[in-house]
């Protein structure tokens, strides 16, 4: 489904990614792990076209998408939920959601998509007429994910879905990710908590200083020496 090959990204003179490769197959949940500043967000920003790579290629469903503008990548079925939620604070919950579903492919199904998102996140239905800024952090994260689903993606990328959330909300969002996956959407998400992330993933990647250091099935990654030593302190 998604194939990233030898991706190199620089911000000015500073190179962030050094030949990173990554794959997500249809029907998979994959997590991208690594410390702050490793370049995790940069990878998915490059996939969604928010950042232009210096070299390498990004393919989605067999077609090359690097170099395309973001809105065309979204139209092809890739959705990107940005880090720190980034909802539109002065628009209502409903408008935030509808904004996710306006582009050509998703537009005819907007009402249906809205109903689907409300079924995943019943709290958003309750709060549909409230301004997004009045939501709690967890609700805003749900809104951000819901907005990302409104484009009816085949593939959803979520940047740190659990950032700053209470354990209770984390459990809820974990459940939602499994539900989204069950609905036939492949998921790639970024997380720092290794055990939590690998618990719901089929496969995982560990990135360090712009290089992919470990990759494999969730269990392999969890049992790899590096992850055990560095992340779990075992």
């Amino acid at each position: 489904m998604l194939r990233v090959q030898d991706l190199e990204v620089t911000y000015g003179d500073f190179q962030v990614l050094w030949g990173v490769s990554l794959e997500v197959h249809p029907g998979e949940v994959v997590c991208l792990l690594g410390p702050n500043g490793a370049g995790k967000s940069t990878i998915i920003n490059a996939v969604s076209g928010l950042v232009r790579p210096l070299a390498g290629r990004v393919e989605f469903c067999g077609e090359r998408i690097d170099g395309l503008p973001t809105h065309e990548i979204v139209t092809r079925g890739v959705s990107h939920v940005l880090e720190r939620r980034r909802v539109f604070p002065y628009l209502t919950v409903e408008k935030n959601l509808l904004l996710g579903g306006y582009q050509d492919r998703a537009r005819p199904r907007r009402e249906e998509s809205l109903a689907w998102v409300f079924s995943l996140f019943p709290i958003l239905r309750e709060r549909r007429h409230q301004l997004a800024q009045s939501l709690s952090g967890g609700e805003q994260q749900m809104l951000a994910i819901g907005r990302g689903l409104m484009s009816r993606p085949k593939f959803l990328m979520i940047d740190e879905p659990f950032l700053g959330l209470s354990p209770l909300v984390v459990t809820e969002i974990l459940k939602i990710i499994t539900q989204i996956h069950a609905a036939g959407v492949s998921v790639l998400f970024i997380e720092q908590n290794v055990q939590l992330a690998l618990g719901i993933s089929h496969r995982g990647y560990v990135l360090e200083s712009g290089r992919m250091v470990v990759s494999g099935a969730a269990k392999e990654v969890l049992e790899s020496d590096l992850v055990r030593k560095v992340y779990l302190g075992i």
Partner: protein
Amino acid sequence: MATGGVAAPAARRRLAGVLLLLLCLAALAFPWVDRLPYHRDLVIRVFLYAMLAQAWNILAGYCGQISLGHAVFFGTGAYASSVLQMRWGWNPWVGLGAGIPVAVALSMAIGYPCFRLRGHYFAIATIAIGEIIQTLAINWDFIGGARGLTLPFQKDSLLAFQFHTSKYPYYYIVLALLILCLLVSWRIERTRLGYYFRAIREDPEAAQSVGIPITRYKLIAMAVSAAFVSAGGSFYAQYVLYLDPDSVLPLSLSILICLLAVVGGVGTLWGPLVGAALLIPLSEFTRIQFGGTGRAVDLLIYGALLTLVAVFQPAGLVGLLGRRGRP
């Protein structure tokens, strides 16, 4: 979104409808009630500036791209209709129509490179472009240079866009322009376009991530905005029958347009009109009261008012009407 059958919003909407109707009637009836030429001129200018500020608001208020160079489009409209008329004998209405695509094209040429700049940097770039265009106009003899253009007097007629025995046609023309601009803004507020604009204003990157081609929509906002300001410029030229770079292209005009909207309420439908209805008569009043002391007093009052608004009512004066100013 009116889904609930709650009584209060419905009643409020009805009240708003009645108020709106009264406002329209008052605007239509004004020339029959008050025949003072001075008041007529004042109201014409309130309407003109309200229209300009509302047009600015489409780009800056809804879409969040603060332009301090809107005089460029005003000047484009004014010069287009006047130059076409004086050099080639074009009808001023056709000139007004011809000015609009020129202003839109110019706005695209300015917007395309400048929309790469974020926030303040965009505003600064528009100031610079405004200054460049004014300097060009001053040195371009074909359009009158620094001397400006004096439009030849013609017999009163709608076709000639000149009215001397009774100036009230000007009043109705500018009122129509204002209403058209408000209607367009009202439509924009309620459609996908308006939500796209607001998404871009609130978080450009998030807007991009949900699939909005942000540069394209910024350009659309700029084009709509420039079109109205250009029409306002053509109107001004026909109304005053004299224009020079100092009257239609100055930075102070760009800033005034922005101030009216800011004081009234940025990103709201009525803000710019409220701002113009307050500040234009105020500057007139201070000029009369303190005329001998120089022009600075009205600016002092502007400054004080702006500070007060910024401190106590950042959403603008319409924010005082209970509802939050931001849509």
